[in-house]
């Protein structure tokens, strides 16, 4: 079939036009088709993405994090996209973002069931000072009706080694609990495992630079 013929067929099947909404619907339709295509290349696994760490460090200037979703065996690099006070937003090629207050995740977008916002109290300061402590946290999500739901948790942070270089953060309510880990090296957190939410579970964040 000629290219024009293919374009017309695509129009008839999925729609096309001069406006963004029509084309967005077509793209949605096509991405749905792609998901069904067994020949589509598998996304890279965590191990494969990790092998690109040296290249990424070379190519990207400034802050760089590697976020891994162990549940899904997916990983992606994020570089600095914006800075607002103490919070830095990192963005990825797939147009997802993760916002970190120091090393602590306070918001995500595009992961699905995103953390809309979070209050993390003194946690970033405690980690910076390499001290344990108790505090409370609030995590906010959107429910199925797009209303904000929040989870308020009581938390404590404590070192797991005498050198104060590994920390476990325990947070719980009567109904749920999670444990995050932070690994400190050279005065900053280099690796953390942080709970994202019910859908995505834990994210492993490599704070590469």
């Amino acid at each position: 079939m000629t290219r024009k013929g293919t374009a017309l067929l695509l129009c008839l099947l999925a729609g096309c036009g001069s406006t963004g909404d029509v084309n967005a619907r077509r793209d949605l339709f096509l991405s749905g088709l792609e998901a069904l295509d067994p020949r589509a290349p598998e996304p890279l696994t965590i191990a494969e993405v990790r092998s690109f760490i040296p290249t990424a460090l070379e190519r990207v200037e400034g802050g760089l994090v590697l976020v891994e979703q162990p549940d899904a065996d997916r990983a992606e690099f994020f570089s600095v996209a914006g800075r607002n006070g103490s919070i830095v937003t990192y963005g990825s090629d797939s147009q997802t973002t993760i916002a970190l207050d120091g090393p602590v995740m306070v918001a995500t977008r595009g992961f699905g069931d995103d953390i809309m916002s979070a209050d993390v109290d003194v946690l970033p300061e405690l980690l910076a000072a390499r001290q344990g402590g108790s505090y409370s946290r609030v995590l906010r999500y959107l429910d199925g009706e797009d209303r904000t739901t929040s989870i308020r948790l009581d938390c404590n942070l404590r070192p797991t080694d005498p050198a104060n270089s590994n920390f476990i953060e325990y947070c719980g309510t009567a109904e749920l609990e999670f444990r995050n880990v932070y690994q400190v090296d050279g005065g900053r957190v280099v690796l953390s495992v942080q709970w994202h939410g019910p859908l995505n579970g834990y994210l492993t964040i490599n704070h590469l630079r």
Partner: protein
């Protein structure tokens, strides 16, 4: 999804162990063959969780039932059923089944009178087939109790069909007559006649498997007479298997004679497949430095391209830039939102773009969402709030946003924006339900649209449709009754007018005064009518109430859907009241004259969900007699609107609309003019902005 609804799960990540909240899984009740909460064929007293929407398809040879049941409120549910009965059962005829089904609609209402407590059972009063031809009519009072974790028990009293076997007494006489032409509540029969006891037990054998045993008080008299059923015992038994995701499959043994099967799909608009969606992240806010804020030197020699940069930033989010009015401290942006279903998300994205692009001294943002040139509202916010609240609870930002009428706001319109031309080519599906011969008819085709907008508030638009495949045009035209055939000739439009011009109109929109919106349209307004249409709407931004007036002078179009007209001409129009009760309930009354010249009113009541879901029911009562109207006596139906964004988890304003209306008759028929004002205007008014504000930072 709230913390309460989360499933029990145990996760092991590295050395980190997590225990999930332990909660009894919300199972929801079983559904009977009638598609209402029940055992095999008998109802139970249990109600479904609020907003559960269950579709059942089930039955046995000679008796097929499809039912949609919606838990309208925690206590009230409504069911819409389309059942096919064997011809010889439908009109009880002695002999053998004919294997030809006659389809009939029916409607149920259930009220949970007393919810279940530790000691007390749940008690429900139900009206089954309350307005139909009465084939399935029953009324019941039923009590159900969860006795143990795995066993529930049900006992009830039934009238009508449910009082037809082994009755224990009777309450008056039950009339056999149908009111009007069917479709009218048969209140003269309710809770009259023989009354009988029914009951049963349900056993949860495992997380997924449920068994049921019941004693039925339905004699199935017509089916027995028609030779369809040999009722050997009053006992029925059933086995149900629940899959993940709300689908269930059940198999039942009926009266020692028949095997029945049923598929049940349960969904709930409150539970999105992917809460919050997965569309791309917004651009982060960039905080200004204090020195930059003080610097207004840019006003002396404004850098060119600020407007262009803003237009590009908005374009990234699928928003359309219309104009910018820029002063040292304040900026007014007019933009269109063809993309986001949640108005607050469109506002949030636009505010982020402004904060990234505009000179740092600009502190006050006025966002004016526009549709067809109508400024819908002026949303005012402070840029420093955008910076300060980016990572805080959306409620905090919501409290700092003002939504006001836009009539007095500056109207910047970029010179390059108009004239504008747009086009699209998209496939379409058109459905027709409840034709007695064929329950579902379907057309698949392609629709080409084009719109030319000479100025911001004028539009010339047209569409041509071409069917590719389908059988909608095969619907037999039934022009019985004395009303002019304003709708019943629709098959002729589909056969003679293919391809056909669906509409071709010139429209002008304006805001003559604060709180007032106006539209004028001329041309081929819809497939079947053309003419002139004028509408005025009063809707203050903070008001729950809107009042509109629409007047049309129209003429019926030729069947070929080209430029010609037939002789029939009519003046039609309505005075409309729109009311948002604010609790997810929306009501509308349209009173006036309809296309066939009949006069009356349409009542619409909807349950609306923040995510865009809508389940609504409407009924139209006019001075056309039931005889003139024909089958069904008056126009009524159920509409489901399922947002694409809910299904796909992506930002998209479109939706799947399921119009469960019996084939439209000529009485109570409204003109389908495009671009009616209220749905457009309401979107960016206070209530919708507040309700969707959780998505402001999304």
């Amino acid at each position: 999804m709230g913390a309460d609804g989360w499933p029990r799960r145990v996760l092991l990540v590295g050395a980190v162990l997590v225990a999930w909240p332990v909660h009894a899984q919300e199972r929801g009740p079983g559904y009977s063959l009638y598609g209402t909460p029940g055992l095999v064929d008998m109802p139970t007293g249990f109600a479904a969780p609020d907003a559960d929407l269950a579709t059942t398809i089930g039955g046995f040879r000679g008796d097929l039932r499809t039912t949609l049941t919606f838990q309208v409120t925690p206590r009230i549910s409504g069911s819409y059923r389309y059942a096919g009965l064997d011809e010889n059962t439908y009109t009880p005829t002695l002999g053998r089944p004919s294997d030809r089904l006659v389809f009939d609609r029916s409607f149920d209402l259930r009220l949970l009178v007393l919810p279940e407590t530790e000691l007390r059972p749940a008690i429900t009063v139900g009206l089954q087939d309350l307005a139909g031809t009465g084939k399935l009519s029953s009324e019941y009072i039923v009590a159900s109790k969860q006795l143990t974790r795995v066993m529930d028990v049900t006992v009830g009293l039934g009238w009508g069909r449910l009082g037809s076997y082994n009755s224990i007494g009777s309450t008056g006489t039950r009339s056999q007559d149908t009111l009007g032409e069917g479709g009218v509540p048969s209140y003269d029969q309710w809770f009259r006649g023989d009354v009988a006891l029914f009951g049963g037990i349900g056993l949860q054998l495992s997380e997924r498997v449920r068994a049921e045993l019941e004693y039925s008080s339905d004699a199935y008299a017509d089916a027995v007479a028609g030779g369809e059923l040999d009722r050997r015992t009053p006992w029925n038994a059933g086995l149900e298997y629940r899959f993940d995701g709300g689908t269930r499959l059940s198999v039942m043994a009926l009266h020692g004679d028949k095997v029945a099967a049923q598929l049940t799909f349960v969904t709930n608009p409150k539970a999105a497949p992917l809460a919050g969606g997965r569309e791309e992240a917004p651009l982060p806010v960039i905080r200004r430095t204090p020195e930059a804020i003080a610097d207004t030197s840019w006003t002396e020699a404004p850098a060119p391209g600020i407007a262009d940069a803003l237009a590009a930033a908005l374009g990234r989010d699928g928003l359309v830039f219309e104009g910018l009015d820029l002063s040292p401290r304040k900026a007014t942006l007019r933009f269109e939102n063809p993309r986001f279903g949640a108005p607050a998300q469109a506002l949030g994205r636009a505010a982020r773009s402004m904060a990234r692009v505009l000179p740092a001294s600009v502190e006050v943002f006025e966002l004016v969402p526009v549709s067809d040139g109508l400024a819908l509202s002026t949303v005012t916010l402070r840029r420093s709030d955008v910076e300060d609240f980016e990572f805080r609870d959306a409620d905090a930002m919501n409290a700092r946003v003002a939504v006001q009428d836009a009539a007095a706001t500056a109207r910047p319109i970029a010179e390059t924006r108009y004239p504008a031309f747009s086009w699209s080519l998209e496939p379409y599906v058109q459905t027709g339900f409840f034709d007695p011969d064929r329950p579902i008819r379907l057309d698949l085709g392609v629709r080409a649209r084009a719109a030319f907008r000479p100025t911001a508030n004028t539009k010339i638009a047209g569409a041509v449709v071409k069917r590719i495949a389908g059988n909608l045009a095969d619907t037999p035209a039934d022009n019985s009754g004395d009303l002019p055939p304003v709708r019943t000739n629709f098959p002729s439009y589909l056969t003679d007018g293919d391809p056909g011009m669906e509409y071709l109109t010139a429209a002008v929109f304006s805001r003559p005064a604060p709180d007032i919106y106006a539209r004028g349209t001329v041309g081929y307004l819809e497939s079947m009518f053309g003419g002139v249409s004028a509408e005025v709407l009063w809707k203050p931004v903070d008001s729950r109430l809107g009042i509109g007036l629409e007047l049309n002078r129209v003429r019926q179009r030729d069947f070929d859907r080209r430029f010609g007209f037939q002789d029939y001409e009519v003046t039609t129009g309505h005075l409309s009241a729109y009311y948002d009760f604010g609790t997810g309930i929306y009501g509308q009354i349209d009173a006036g004259r309809y296309l066939a010249g009949d006069e009356g009113a349409t009542f619409t009541l909807a349950r609306e969900f923040n995510n865009g879901w809508q389940v609504s029911a409407f009924a139209t009562f006019t001075d056309a007699s039931a005889e003139d109207f024909g089958e069904g006596s008056f126009d009524k139906g159920i509409l489901l609107r399922i947002p694409t964004s809910w299904v796909a988890g992506q930002a998209d304003r479109s939706s799947f609309n399921l119009d469960l209306r019996p084939i439209q008759r000529n009485g109570g028929a409204r003109l389908n003019v495009r671009d009616r004002l209220y749905p457009k205007v309401r979107d960016f008014h206070r209530a919708r902005v507040d309700d969707s504000f959780g998505r402001f930072w999304r």
